[in-house]
Structure formats: C-alpha cells, structure tokens
C-alpha cells in the first residue's frame, strides 16, 4: 500500500482536478477573513460582477486594525474606521457571518476560529494572513494567502496551487522546566533559518508535540511561516478531539463520533517518506530569546550573540544596537507585550500570572497584556488572573493584534526595546525604529517584573 503523510491525506482528498504540467485545483473548506486583506478582494469581485460562491463557508472578524482600549466608542482614526465599516458592509451585503468589534466571539482570527470549533482536523482552511499556519495544530491544511487568492476563494471556493513538498521536524524527549512551546519553535527556527521551510509544508512530530496542549501546538504551528513553511501540521489525537468537543461549530453527538473515527485515520502512515527531515532533542532546548531582526536570529537566553561576517547580519545588529559576543542578560527593557496570534490564549496568561503573582511590575516598564479574543478576556477575568495583573500594576487591554504589527495606536517608541511574545522581530514591526526581542510569555512576564532581561532558568523551582 502507498504510505502517505498526514499532509498527503488531507491534500489529496481536496484535489478537484489537476492541470497538466501545472497546478491543481484545491478545494477550500473554510475561509477566514479580516478587515485588512479582504476589501480589495470584495472590490475585485464586484467590479467583475462575480458573486461570492459559498458565503456560508466564510467567517469574518475584525482584529488587525482595531483599538485595544475603549472598543465601545467610535474609532478615532478615520482610515481605520472606514476599513472596519467596509468589512461590515461587505459581510452584510454578501451574507457572511461577522464577529465585529465588541461581539462576544470577536478576536484575533487565529484565536477565535479554533476556540469556536471552526478549525477541525482534515479540513483545508485559508485566510489572508500568513499566520493561518496556526490551525495546522489540529491536523488541518491551513495557510496564508494574498488578496488575489482571497478573491479566488470568494469566486470559486478553490485555489490553484502546486502541491508543496513535505518536511518533518521531530523533537523527542521531555521539555525542561520553564521551556515553553514558544521556546521550542524559536529554537527550531534558530537552527534551521528563515527559509529552510520555503516550498514545504512542515509536520511536527515526536513526544514533545504529543505531550503538548492544543494551545501549545498552535503556538508552534503559528510560527511555521517564520522558517518559510506555508503551513505546519500536527497529527490529530485524543488531545485534539477533547479540545474540539462541545465547541460552537464542532460536530455534535453521533456526527462527532463519526468524525473522530475519520480523524483517527489521518496521522502519517508508518514508513511514509518526507522530502526532508530534521530531528532535535528536547534536552537541548532552553528558554530562547532573539537578538536580531528576523526570527531565525535566536539564542538560548544565557548565550552570547554570535559573530557573522555578513553585511545583512551587521545591519541587523546595528539596528538592534547590539554587539556580537555580548549577552542579553541584564539588558534594561522598558516595554513588554504579551499578546498576538502566537501567545494570547488563556494558557499564556496563566503562565504570566503564575510568575507575576505576589510580585510587582518594574517602574520603568510599560506592559501591554492583550488577550487574543473576547472569550480569552472573559476567562482571564473569571479565573482571577486579571486581579493578579491589576495588583501587580499591569493593565489588561481589549482583544486584537495590537503591538504585534502596530497598525493601531499600540506602537513601541523609536529606539526602545520590547520583549514581545509575538512572532516577528522585523525592523519597525512594532513601530518605527522599535526594537523587538521575541520570547515566551514566561520570559516576557519576568522581564516586566525585573525591568531587564533575566536568566529565567535561575528563577524556577
């Protein structure tokens, strides 16, 4: 029998047809949209007189360009307001479900869709956002697309694509205390670089991922794009099924059991061959931190910045105002951001609260805690985490992408460092001239308390 990977199984079951010497028509089950990458696609269809083919397979949210304070009031910035109004209008006109600002299901697209049970194993899912790779944590094929492709899915519920190659990253062993899923993916990217995954879909396998919660798996798959892979996937298992059960859009009753039986057939067959494979040992992974301007420029928090004789590398260190050979421990930090589609789920805030409890935020630090969704926000309050944050001098803001990409007012000032749980440390990503240091929610929380980067491994029981 032909041995297949998880990716093969899901991809092959969605091929409508193949063009000779060309791409395949791939059927898309779920299409997520948001305010920034959809308006031009709606315009395109309207201008060409093409109707939306399957509006009931589209779910919309507002997240990139939304304020994280006073969401009940009209948005001050005229362009942002217009973009959100246009999304509402487009959705209304085309009968598309929209969880707009203030709705109890509103949130970052990659946080709200899984928590509503929209994301399921074995499906294909797209969104005009590169971090759509997040949903692969469920064993779905999920990837980011451009606006032209958003228009294609609007028009036909399909995309024309060449099947990517397959890659497997295996990490076996048991993670050390204080090593979080974010550290695992930052470690992998630091080893493989930012383009090792280009042209590939990546499956994460091994006991580290098997032992991980769904939220941890989402953090890992989320950053697949940072090593160039369009998508990341993890085989669905009991952890996956338990997470999905009972959510708003999850299959119910007998239908659920039927689906589970199907989902159990999806994991990669033993002996299936990947185009490329890498293996790492959990023992070698420690809390990570980035020092440069791409996510591959990461080190263990206690290591020194490496030396490289390369103009782009030097330009990067120059931007960060760091020197080769120096450590980041004890660097004073004035900004901390806990949020983004990578790390804004309840487990991330539990980790932060657990560290912060009984301590105080350092006076020099401005810390933004931004939940990924209204549901996460509600849970933070319900579990008493907000009380811990309040007491320690932290401010909990309202859901959205916020300072991850600084489209709204949440911008890090020129020249300032920000220890951030987000996914990209590109130049100016968090504001013009801002310097981003990527880390886990634990390292971010510790930085906020100490006002500087510390060796977290020495502060754990």
């Amino acid at each position: 029998m032909n041995k297949k990977t998880l990716f093969d199984k899901v991809w092959d079951s969605h091929v409508v047809s193949s063009i000779e010497n060309g791409p395949q028509i791939l059927y898309i089950d779920r299409h997520l949209i948001h305010e920034v990458t959809s308006p031009q696609a709606f315009n395109e269809l309207e201008n060409r007189g093409i109707p939306i083919f399957r509006p009931d397979q589209i779910i919309a949210t507002a997240d990139h360009n939304t304020p994280t304070l006073n969401q009940d009031q009209p948005i001050k910035d005229a362009l942002s307001r217009k973009q959100l109004e246009q999304l509402s209008e487009n959705c209304k006109k085309n009968n598309i479900t929209l969880y707009e600002l203030g709705h109890k299901y509103n949130g970052i697209v990659h946080v709200m869709a899984p928590e509503l049970g929209i994301t399921q194993p074995g499906i294909t899912m797209v969104c005009g956002d590169s971090h759509t790779s997040t949903h692969g944590a469920f064993g779905a094929i999920a990837f980011g697309i451009g606006t032209s492709q958003v228009a294609q899915v609007f028009a036909s519920q399909c995309l024309l694509l060449k099947k990517p190659k397959s890659l497997r990253v295996t990490v076996n062993g048991k993670l050390k205390n204080g090593v979080l899923p974010k550290d695992v993916i930052l470690y992998i990217i630091s080893k493989l670089g930012t383009n090792a995954g280009t042209g590939y879909f990546c499956e994460y396998a091994g006991s580290v991922f098997e032992d991980m919660s769904m939220e941890g798996r989402m953090t890992v798959c989320n950053m697949s794009i940072e090593m160039g892979a369009r998508g990341g996937m993890i085989a669905p298992d009991q952890t996956t099924f338990d997470y999905i059960k009972g959510r708003k859009f999850s299959p119910k009753g007998e239908e659920f059991e039927k689906k589970v039986n199907y989902w159990k057939t999806l994991p990669t067959d033993e002996g299936a061959v990947f185009d490329n494979e890498y293996t790492f040992d959990a023992d070698d992974i420690e809390p990570m931190i980035t020092y440069g301007t791409n996510p591959g420029m990461g080190i263990k928090i206690t290591e020194t910045i490496p030396e490289e004789d390369n103009a782009s590398f030097k330009k990067s260190l120059n931007y960060m105002d760091f020197k080769a050979g120096e450590r980041l421990i004890d660097k004073p930090i004035n900004y901390v951001f806990i949020g983004s589609c990578t790390n804004s789920r309840i487990e991330d805030f539990r980790v932060a609260a657990n560290y912060i409890k009984g301590k105080q935020k350092a006076d020099n630090v401005t810390a933004w805690l931004v939940p990924g969704s209204k549901q996460v926000e509600a849970q933070i309050i319900e579990e008493g985490l907000k009380a811990i944050f309040d007491e320690a001098g932290f401010e909990l803001r309202q859901p959205g992408c916020s300072a991850c990409l600084a489209m709204n007012d949440d911008k890090i000032p020129q020249g300032e460092y920000c220890v951030s749980t987000s996914n990209r440390n590109f130049e100016g990503r968090q504001g013009q001239g801002a310097r981003t240091i990527l880390a886990s929610p634990l390292v971010a929380a510790a930085t906020a308390v100490e006002g500087k980067i510390i060796d977290i491994t020495k502060h754990l029981n």
Binding site: V16, Q40, F53, G144, I145, C158, L405, G428
Partner: protein, 196 residues
C-alpha cells in the same frame, strides 16, 4: 492583468538579504481599501528618516540608479501575506524583481499581479550586483518566453524557472479567477461527492 513578455531596463540594486514585507510596506500603510497609492510608501522607513528627511544612503534615493527592475538579496519578500507589498513595488514602477530566493506567498502575490519574480543562482546574483553597482547604466534584459535573464553587451545570462501555467497567464494577461470560474461544474461535482 497586464501582459508580460520581455523587458529591457536598467536596474536598482538592493543588496540586502531577507527583505521582509514589513520593510516593503509598513503595516501602518495598510489601512487603504483599494490597491492604489502604495507605491509612494514602498520601503518607506528605509527611504526616509524618522524626521521625514530623505535617507540619502538608501539606494532608491541614489539618482545614479533607476529603472523598472529591482535586484535584491536572498529570501526576498519573507514575512506577512500582505499583497500590498506587490502593489507597492509595482506602484513605484517596478515590473520585475530579481533575487536568488523568494518567499512563497510574496512570489504568488507577485505573479497574480503581473510582477515577474525572476529567481537566479547566487553566483549570477552576485555577478549582477557587481555589474550594476560598478556601472549603473547596465541594461538588464528579461525574456519570459525564453525564460532568460541577461546583461546587455556582456557575456552574462542565465535561464530561470517559472511554472508553465503561470507563464502562460503572464504572457496572455489571464488570472486564476478566470480559470476557476470556468471550472465551476467540476467544483460543484467535487462538493457533491466529498469523502471527508
């Protein structure tokens, strides 16, 4: 979509690796709801200093260099899926981007807009940078039909790969929507017999 067959132009050398889409068009300019006007903000934070003055060190501000071909370092277009990056590059007047490696989503976005990504070897890229940087009048020719990029009056050329379907689309100015809509019956038949 505009058709693309051949282009003969001087080129601008952007000798930087891992140029990400946040550099090509920073997020604060993504609030527009149409495709126009992004060209003015392409590479905004490299072209201009914080105080709004022109950064004379940046190659796009060096009047020696001009043309509709952008030659860039390895892994061009990494990062976000924003198609605004392709619109911004085209809006500025580029018709071709040359690099030794392109990020997936950017490459697709470029092709979907008639902006040709030409992927060449590291060696050819290095030679190309040398030629353009030493003589800004260097003319680069891109022939899509033959899939060849060459430097005029020099013995320097290389064949580049492009998906056959995408090549046909570019040469004829077709886009994927036309193709998909013409296959609606197939898509409906697929929906009726889905097995998952």
């Amino acid at each position: 979509m505009e058709k693309f067959t051949t282009l003969r132009s001087t080129a601008i050398p952007l000798n930087i690796e891992n140029v990400d889409t946040d550099q090509i068009i920073p997020a604060r300019f993504l609030k527009a709801t149409d495709k126009k006007g992004f060209g003015g903000n392409v590479f905004r934070d490299w072209r201009f200093n914080e105080d709004g003055s022109v950064n004379t060190d940046f190659v796009l501000n060096n009047s020696q260099f001009y043309g509709s071909i952008l030659v860039a370092g390895n892994n061009f277009g990494c990062g976000s899926s924003r198609e605004h990056a392709a619109w911004a590059i085209m809006g500025y007047g580029f018709k071709v981007v040359v690099s030794s490696f392109f990020a997936d989503i950017f490459k697709g976005n470029a092709l979907n807009n008639g902006l040709l990504p030409v992927q060449i070897s590291e060696q050819f890229l290095s030679d190309l940078f040398d030629e353009i940087e030493s003589n800004p009048q260097t003319v680069v020719k891109v022939n899509l039909e033959d899939q060849v990029i060459s430097v005029e009056d020099k013995n320097l050329s290389e064949r580049f790969e492009i998906d056959a379907y995408k090549k046909t689309c570019l040469i004829n100015g077709y886009d994927d929507i036309d193709y998909l809509i013409n296959n609606k019956e197939l898509i409906e038949a697929f929906e009726a017999q889905k097995t998952y």
